[in-house]
């Protein structure tokens, strides 16, 4: 058996490899510190599409196409596609599904969608239920702003804890063919709500959810922070990652330099005016599918835990005074020593 229950919602996986990745981002992400490491950077946010919603679909389509191209596969070779985005009724993922016509599992865990899709894809491929699977996630700054906050051109002041929804999409193709990176274990998160109410401070709200998943993953796998080359959260940002460190040390877990955050990496905090850092499902998806997998593949015996974090609120619940429930899903990958970079 190459898929094994280790503990509640922690599943050990073996024989599942990352065949190829595709990461496509917007112009602001392209100007950030990771800009050179994505497959493609769009010159502007719209790229000639008649609406930003269509632009986001184009972005996701390009990320998936890139991943398949690098894997030398056609869409027809995919058994199943898993993915999600931030928009109501996950229209981006579903509308791209209309083009590729592959069996589609649309999912939503806000900014934790990517690891939810990747974890489930790994289990499907590892169990033999699917020979190949594509996991993806996307977000677009302009479509998300419009849905969650205010109209784009409205001038209002953003507090320092607010995150910048990234224009980014990432896609990963998994199969059982041996490659440079393998999936080792996944842990599905629980919903954690510590009573945070401010949608402009999601990092602080999500940190306890991230810790809960990480702690459960450690317990189930018997690993500790020092066993990882890299532990990367999705979009806790500058404030959230500090919260996570404090939170963890209160519970007796000490993180070192291996702990970092995709949202923190994506932009230059000094010069890009992004406040707490990047967010959105596309943030962790593109950073994983671009820089992270490539860097990990180059490290012998490298091991990484990606913990994407999601704030599960809607504009309605927030306006009705509800607190923000959060979730985090974790995927552990490792380098195999193979030289075919994803």
């Amino acid at each position: 058996m190459s898929v094994l229950r280790l503990a509640t919602a922690t599943v050990g996986v073996s024989g599942v490899y990352v065949q190829a990745c595709g990461a496509v981002v917007g112009p602001k992400e392209g100007e950030g510190p990771l800009g050179q490491e994505f497959d493609r950077v769009w010159p502007d946010e719209g790229k000639g599409y008649s609406s930003f919603e269509k632009a986001e679909q184009g972005l996701l389509q390009e990320a998936c196409d890139t991943a398949l191209q690098k894997a030398a596969m056609s869409w027809d070779a995919l058994d199943v596609v898993l993915g999600g985005d931030l928009l109501d009724q996950t229209v981006t993922t579903n509308f791209v599904g209309r083009t590729h016509e592959r069996p589609l599992l649309g999912m939503f865990a806000a900014c934790a969608t990517f690891t939810e899709a990747l974890a489930l894809a790994a289990i499907l491929v590892g169990s033999g239920a699917a020979a190949t699977a594509l996991a993806s996630a996307s977000s677009h700054h302009l479509t998300a702003e419009r849905q969650f906050r205010f109209p784009l051109e409205l001038g209002y002041q953003r507090p320092p804890t607010s995150a910048w929804t990234s224009t980014a999409a990432g896609a990963v193709v998994l199969s059982r063919e041996w490659r440079a990176i393998q999936v080792q274990a996944v842990t599905f998160g629980r919903v954690v709500d510590i009573g945070g109410k401010d949608p402009n401070d999601m990092g602080s709200a999500m940190a306890p959810a991230a810790f809960d998943t990480i702690e459960r993953h450690f317990k189930a796998t018997g690993l500790k922070p020092a066993d990882y080359t890299e532990i990367v959260t999705g979009d806790l940002g500058h404030f959230g990652i500090d919260m996570l460190k404090t939170y963890a040390s209160d519970k007796g877990v000490q993180f070192g330099d291996e702990l970092n955050d995709c949202g923190r990496w994506l932009y230059d905090a000094q010069n890009q005016d992004t406040h707490n850092g990047g967010s959105g499902p596309g943030c962790s998806a593109s950073v994983f599918a671009g820089p992270l997998t490539r860097r990990l593949a180059a490290i012998p015996h490298g091991r990484m835990l990606l913990v994407a974090t999601g704030a599960l609120f809607s504009p309605t619940t927030y306006q009705q005074g509800e607190t923000i429930p959060c979730i985090a899903h974790a995927v552990q990958i490792a380098s195999t020593g193979g030289d075919s970079a994803p």
């Binding site: 784009l152 409205l154 001038g155 209002y156």
Partner: protein, 111 residues
Amino acid sequence: MGQVIESGFMSTGMTAKMAASPTAVVLIGLGALFTGLGWYDRLVKLGGMGGSLPITGFANAMVAPAMEFKTEGLVMGIGAHLFSVAGPVLVWGMSAAFVVGALRYLLTGVA
């Protein structure tokens, strides 16, 4: 900014009271224009609270949703969303004015 425009109008021979209205008109016009050009959000970053205040902020609050929802059509897009930001200000501004006006009439007898 407003002072400069007001002084400009006053130099043409208007009194301070007369100059107030055209000043507001110019500021609203500029607010709407800069929003349309996509500069307003950057101005607020620079000018801070000054840019969020009514007059220019109000023009911005009207034009921004109009631009945002134009892809959903003239009626259900722009029409339905035009007041999505400015609406609350109008509703509660007018309600407050009505209540204060009524109280003033009842207490002082002056309409």
